[in-house]
Symmetry: D2
Subunit: 343 residues, 4 copies
Amino acid sequence: MKVGVVGASGYSGEVLVKLLLSHPHVTLAAVTSRQHAGKAVSKLMPALRGTLADKLHFCDSAAPALAARADIDLWFLALPHGAAAEFARDLVAAGRKVIDLSADFRIADLATYENYYGHHHAPALLPVARFVLPELTDPKWKTEIRLAAAPGCYPTSALVPLVPLLRAGVVAREHIVVNSFSGVSGAGKKTEEHYLFVARAESAKAYGLVKHRHLAEIEEQLALVAGAPVVVQFNPHLAPMRRGIVTTITVPAAPGATIESLYATWHAAYAGRPFVTVLHAGETPDSAHVTGTNRVDLAAVHDPRTGNFVLTSALDNLVKGASGQAVQIMNLWSGFPETSGLG
Amino acid sequence: MKVGVVGASGYSGEVLVKLLLSHPHVTLAAVTSRQHAGKAVSKLMPALRGTLADKLHFCDSAAPALAARADIDLWFLALPHGAAAEFARDLVAAGRKVIDLSADFRIADLATYENYYGHHHAPALLPVARFVLPELTDPKWKTEIRLAAAPGCYPTSALVPLVPLLRAGVVAREHIVVNSFSGVSGAGKKTEEHYLFVARAESAKAYGLVKHRHLAEIEEQLALVAGAPVVVQFNPHLAPMRRGIVTTITVPAAPGATIESLYATWHAAYAGRPFVTVLHAGETPDSAHVTGTNRVDLAAVHDPRTGNFVLTSALDNLVKGASGQAVQIMNLWSGFPETSGLG
Amino acid sequence: MKVGVVGASGYSGEVLVKLLLSHPHVTLAAVTSRQHAGKAVSKLMPALRGTLADKLHFCDSAAPALAARADIDLWFLALPHGAAAEFARDLVAAGRKVIDLSADFRIADLATYENYYGHHHAPALLPVARFVLPELTDPKWKTEIRLAAAPGCYPTSALVPLVPLLRAGVVAREHIVVNSFSGVSGAGKKTEEHYLFVARAESAKAYGLVKHRHLAEIEEQLALVAGAPVVVQFNPHLAPMRRGIVTTITVPAAPGATIESLYATWHAAYAGRPFVTVLHAGETPDSAHVTGTNRVDLAAVHDPRTGNFVLTSALDNLVKGASGQAVQIMNLWSGFPETSGLG
Amino acid sequence: MKVGVVGASGYSGEVLVKLLLSHPHVTLAAVTSRQHAGKAVSKLMPALRGTLADKLHFCDSAAPALAARADIDLWFLALPHGAAAEFARDLVAAGRKVIDLSADFRIADLATYENYYGHHHAPALLPVARFVLPELTDPKWKTEIRLAAAPGCYPTSALVPLVPLLRAGVVAREHIVVNSFSGVSGAGKKTEEHYLFVARAESAKAYGLVKHRHLAEIEEQLALVAGAPVVVQFNPHLAPMRRGIVTTITVPAAPGATIESLYATWHAAYAGRPFVTVLHAGETPDSAHVTGTNRVDLAAVHDPRTGNFVLTSALDNLVKGASGQAVQIMNLWSGFPETSGLG
């Protein structure tokens, strides 16, 4: 199977190219870049020197031309929101499968999308698109959709621990507080003073309080499970590391719920899932343990004083939080083993 | 005025020695170390080469001998809890002022102390000791006590934003969730695999969930202000940086409270206080901005969706969170300008 | 083919286990650890959670018992020097192939070994052992030896650029100055204050000047090529990063040598070698570009003012500088494709 | 005495403002910035919140207007080369003392300047300007010049160890190889992808090989001492840290020179100099030990095998390598104690 990547100049684009180049069941047949068309991919991604990226060259990224490429079955969109929707329109119309890493199709409710992101460039596609978090989304998506929206990094880190517990009634749906701590690559490749090494090394800070865009997909997904609106306090932070997210969730235990019932719920939800690891008692997720993997590590404690559970998760924002998860979606969609090319 | 430091081999001990050596109103006349007695202080603290630390030598640290030194008016204890109490006993008995950087005298309630720390080695001193957070503690402490307990790093980062708001009724005293992210020096100088560079670089993780020892002093201080027990969810994390703490507090707004009333309360509480900076709208505390200073930076936002305020603070765990605050206490206690040696 | 690893508790041991677990042509059938016998490998190596390391348990490491395991064809020794020689004795005697990551068999000359490392525990094995740097060592080693010594990290970074140039007479063999900058994992997993995060973050320093142990193998290998003694000034440094080495070599150009003849020599020497990348003009090796790969990146400039070439290389000290190179040796020795399991 | 700073938006500008604001003998009366005129200085330099920088506002930076300010006796220029010369012209013409942190007046020989930097904008000032490295430059400069050029960071790290040894004939003047390893702030505040946190963290690399601009002042100063041209191989590198330089110099010992004569020469040269520390035997300079200080730490070893000395130095590129040294120059020029305001 041949696949293509539109817009690979960002951090997650590079990880995606790397994963696809070494994937045993697909050929990466096109990587587009308006700016770098003609250059060898490894020229822009020196970590990929000595691989097939030496021979692969960026091609131009006019959407109609890409849509016309009959050899490519599936396209990944590693573009900013807005731009992604525009490409999706042409590629879906041409009958290609599309896996979008942007936010454009993560949110089913158009009004919510517009509230957080502004104008939507392809609302007509929403009915054939779906937010796909493979461990949580109803597996019927594989036959029902034409476009899969890979979840955001923060949402993955919050939903994997929360959704099964909310579904099973182990936790309340009020007073949920999510604090996340992300490596700097989570902010994208922005050449601004704020993201220079000298500014970010030895520095931690909160940002995007109250209305970070990822809140939209966290709350929509939780509401779908809860059958009622869920309002979350989401506090993201930058940490002086390149990759990785740790998320710490404070959530009231439901009446009667115990730490044992919580763990039993997680074990049931994630039995046989290769990319979710429920840690043993006494272990705590550490972002460094998941860097470079497609894993989410989970742990929880119960606080009898407050009546809360404190859930903790760790993942690599560029792998399970972006490109690895996109490849996992492709694997499931295409009938490959779920772990193909993912370690 | 001559001062001494007992136990200066840790990270905060080194910062304390540095601050005292350049303090305009005191002479650092003794620095003790059982292990390094006889060596030049700068031998163990190479950052202090070229200063008076070349000429100052560690002396032995037998408590009776220290208590007998009539030339020294005030002692800082930079010791582990337990050990601190033992020295405090002799030094207070000899009529010296003592500023303790350990937890031994931060908690007024003996049962709470024992619950978190075990046996107390000098409970008889509790009546003449007090937790002194200079911006918050009733200034009468200066004449009422013989031993000042310098607050912990996390408690300072949580109490400076919370106490005035709780006192003024701007925030609720329930559902308070405190997430903190600390530089690795906050864990002390422990030669364990977990604290090696290779383990901690590029790594973030939660630790000490549910019952971190600093919770004891956070809750006791909040209860004193609230006039009723306050139960806090406290989630500390390690961040891959040497110094600095950022704390993010989710707390329900009290009925009728607004972001304006919150800021007005802070401005009133901290007017004229040189070490608390209430940031302008749109600014967020950044640990890198306070490293090396005795400052706490504060900001807040209101979330109309959740009804919460989200408060953020930043400080240097070794300065305002330890040694700088201890020097500030000395300044106030001794009648020096509050900022002497701290700016 | 089944393989085993003796002594996997260090940084390179962990990388080796990871590489072998995902290797397509071998089964990792034994991982020994005196200290952790019985525990799951992923318990000690949390980065390997969710892999076969969950099911694999450390076994005890008595050398005779290991030698008796008829199912295992090849053993890797990831032990300190001295200890490695003792295991090698029993395993070679039992007819097993051995790839040693320690220094014990890197140096052919016993007196040199003893000068740098002290007593040798198995000198009788030296005739059947060889220093194997796959790109440089005569390929006859594959049939002539019973024990392969994988080169050290610094030596690999210095020899890959230097050896072809010295062999071709492009550079002089005098006035060679090698400066290297290594990530902290290069020092091994030592729980000493010097290697704590707080000590090493934001810190660079030279160490081991004049007689670093890796000098022995650098000079012996250069002498073999030059046919005469070569004396090198080797200045290693620690850099505040986890992994990676950059090496910068100042060496006088031989009479008549040009930057073009230098590059032509490199291209000829490394044509078809998958793990050496000669960079394009204007590019400089960057340790971050090779982290996690088995690659060495190379570049050079000529300085007409001094008459020197300045050669630069970058590699990952734990991969091409240790475990990746050991796997590469196994691949070649066993007739697998050279790149199997190496990306 | 009132002083001003022209162009304070870079990293060394910020350190300079910080040092001057807390200097006991001067008042910082003007800080210019074309871009930020009117804003509070602490707005752009949040590390200076709570200091006089809250009250001080950037003023516009038209050179004639600055030259007209009769209240300001001395100006620091923290500008790019080229721009500095233009301001220097007006300020010197108006009779002000000028301390220039750029390269414009560090090089006495105009042709050399033009070779490395291109057109010089104020060559007429060269006769009244001088490269001033306080520990090395003939103290007559204090009365002979009107403009002091503060040395570059790399040159300071190389000249402090080398100059006394070359002057005393302890080392040769040929085959000198200087390798330096600098924190990222040394590259200035450039918003380029190469300097983003994600690019530079966990990354070391050589850059600027063969003809780094600082080579010009290193060689000119060495030639002045040697009385003959000195050609140096200078290999600068970036290290993943914010501040600090370590420099390692390989230089042949002069006939008869010993490590004892080397240390004796250093001790004689730097006796009574507060900012040069000759370390004890067995100690090696570490950049982290000098960060935030105006110190240079020095050590050396002799290698009997190569006949070389290996000299090592460490300094903070923004303090002794820029702003601290500029303040030290002001102190000496103005008759203040050399250490005023420098810790």
